[in-house]
Amino acid sequence: MAGAGGGSNDVQWCFSQVKGAIDDDVAEADIISTVEFNHSGELLATGDKGGRVVIFQQEIENKPQCRSEYNVYSTFQSHEPEFDYLKSLEIEEKINKIRWLPQKNAAQFLLSTNDKTIKLWKISERDKRPEGYNLKEEDGRYIDPNTVTALRVPVFRPMDLMVEASPRRVFANAHTYHINSISINSDHETYLSADDLRINLWHQEITDRSFNIVDIKPANMEELTEVITAAEFHPHQCNTFVYSSSKGTIRLCDMRASALCDTHSKLFEEPEDPSNRSFFSEIISSISDVKFSHNGRYMMTRDYLSVKIWDLNMESRPVETYQVHEYLRNKLCSLYENDCIFDKFECCWNGNDSVVMTGSYNNFFRMFDRGQRRDVTLEASREGSKPQQVLKPRKVCADGKRKKDEISVDSLDFNKKILHTAWHPQDNVIAVATTNNLYIFQDKVN
């Protein structure tokens, strides 16, 4: 059974683990809103609608038969719901994005953000504690000092490993609109945060000040027709970043050119195909995610129906376009009516930029092998949840002639959407988030 793979060998994707409740009653707070591997792939962070962050750690196992598993490493409440008294609006605690900082010392750091506030969290391990006090009893009560006859210096002894998460910085009050992206610069000092109309540049150490580098808010809000949907720093060039818009354009900006990067250096836009024009053309052209390739030569954008790969040197059109679920093109009115057309799917690259992945409906997700020009549709479901069970490729039938094992478009469950996926930076390990479950798949180890 062929899968999409990096390199010349076919990868067979197998179920590894699934995290989360089996219960069909999904609590709103448990809805996963972001998934991110750290730079080594050892840690996997998820954020949810309830403002919590759960970090899994890969256990290093010596067994050659199976890959290591991910187990819970730390859990903490990152953001709390707030109430804006002036506007009478709730500020959601939902974690919109998590980004890991490159590791500098024993501790791990990540940025997590909700609509309004970004926080820098330090996750550190403690595996020793001082023992041997002779001033206290076991339960902490102080001993009567008159009974103490000897001087004893406490010594550090090993203890059960404890993982602590503590907020180190809170970057607040810089965004009037909802934050949709954060991206850490390759200079290891700064990062950007983007909301619907503005992008700010922060220093990781300084919380009371940020620089506004992009502002597309019109003087007259009546003239507003476009918003920022995603932004990311270039992986190697610390002066370069891109941001995508609701009109399907991507702008590349160079911070060396000017302090305020309202004027782009490059504008990436594909002319619309007139034969596909409909009332919903603009809505489906809105870009929901933009990601640079690891090598920094390409970037990938996700709009409602497709994934596009752009060469940074060519602005006129993408170099590759992959249809994620073209069978939905005739269903746009229904999807507009039930609001699915506004769903924001993310996308990701594999470690060597040869395969890209994105989610779809019915708990399907798609992988496109750029080199071998092959694609596959897989499903994250309980049915495929036996250990090491190879995932069977799925197929959606667009017309009436449904073959065996195919699923017709009308049978798709549009409540089950995979919006967030992540790929291990080196290995063929992927994390796929359904509404409230996290699936981990790995390639078959022989």
Binding site: D24, V54, E90, C333, R382, L412
Partner: protein
């Protein structure tokens, strides 16, 4: 490896209709025991989010029906949906500027098309309400041309660089005036700003805040058929909404429907 202490936490307070699950351990730690297919005997476990228990949300037949309609009716359907969604935007607990901008753009595109087509496609043009609002500078307006409140709302919401719309706007003496239209646009998009109560004094968007103070020039009794808009956050259908929905389904005159809907929206926008 040693045991892990899972940092226990309590999730946040109960707020309105959003009930939190207080849990003392990470809910993703439930490493589900692998179950065979026989355990899922009855049905695929389906997410209940947004849909009642046991109901799998499928595509309805909207699209099939829609494609059978002639183009103007398709367009009207989309227009109606657009207006519906824009209205509900105001009531949502989590307003999205992105969504509103996309809806407004779609609305503007449709209205632009309708305006361009003018009197060409209407089956039964309604009598244009007799108003003193037309500027003598405007080109002669056929009786079935979209009436000024439509134009006013579209231009105020979307602020086109359209001479006709501009001049129409400036002539409106009261009611759905361009000022209110402009304010309603700002109200629509201005309400997405998150201000912090400690920083608002230094926040330059002070004007947006004060636009909540309604200095509407028109007489609310003009809209006596419409109930007060529902309080923010409530999901109950108001009389106005019922009226609106009935208008959608029963009126055979597309433009008269637009007129009523848009007046209703103006009322809601200015009052909120």
């Amino acid at each position: 490896m040693g045991q892990r202490d899972i940092v226990s936490y309590e999730t946040s307070v109960r707020r309105k209709s959003r009930i939190r699950t207080a849990s003392t351990m990470c809910r993703l730690d439930v490493d589900c025991a692998v179950k065979g297919p026989e355990q899922h005997g009855n049905a695929l476990p389906s997410s209940r989010y947004m849909v009642g228990r046991g109901v799998k949300r499928k595509l309805n037949d909207c699209e099939d029906q829609m494609l059978d309609l002639p183009y103007p009716q398709q367009r009207q359907l989309v227009l109606d949906l657009c207006l519906d969604k824009l209205q509900s935007c105001q009531r949502r607990a989590e307003p999205s500027l992105h969504r509103s901008v996309l809806l407004a753009n779609t609305l503007r595109q449709i209205q632009q098309e309708m305006r361009q087509e003018g009197g060409l496609h209407l089956e039964s043009p309604p009598p244009a309400p007799a108003t003193p609002r037309h500027s003598p500078d405007l080109p002669p307006v056929p009786s079935d041309r979209p009436s000024t409140p439509v134009a006013a709302l579209s231009s105020s919401l979307l602020c086109e660089d359209d001479n006709d719309a501009q001049s129409t706007c400036t002539e409106l003496p009261k009611g759905t005036g361009s000022e209110d239209g402009g304010k309603s646009q700002d109200l629509l998009f201005g309400s997405f700003e998150i201000t912090n109560s400690t920083s608002y004094l230094t926040d330059l968007q002070l004007d947006d805040i004060f636009e909540d103070i309604d200095t509407s020039m028109y007489d609310p009794s003009d809209f006596s058929v419409l109930a007060c808009p529902p309080p923010r956050g409530s999901s109950g259908a108001s009389l106005g909404n019922d009226y609106n929905l009935k208008a959608f389904s029963t009126s055979s005159s597309t433009l008269q429907m637009c007129l009523n809907d848009l007046d209703h929206i103006m009322e809601i926008l200015v009052r909120s």
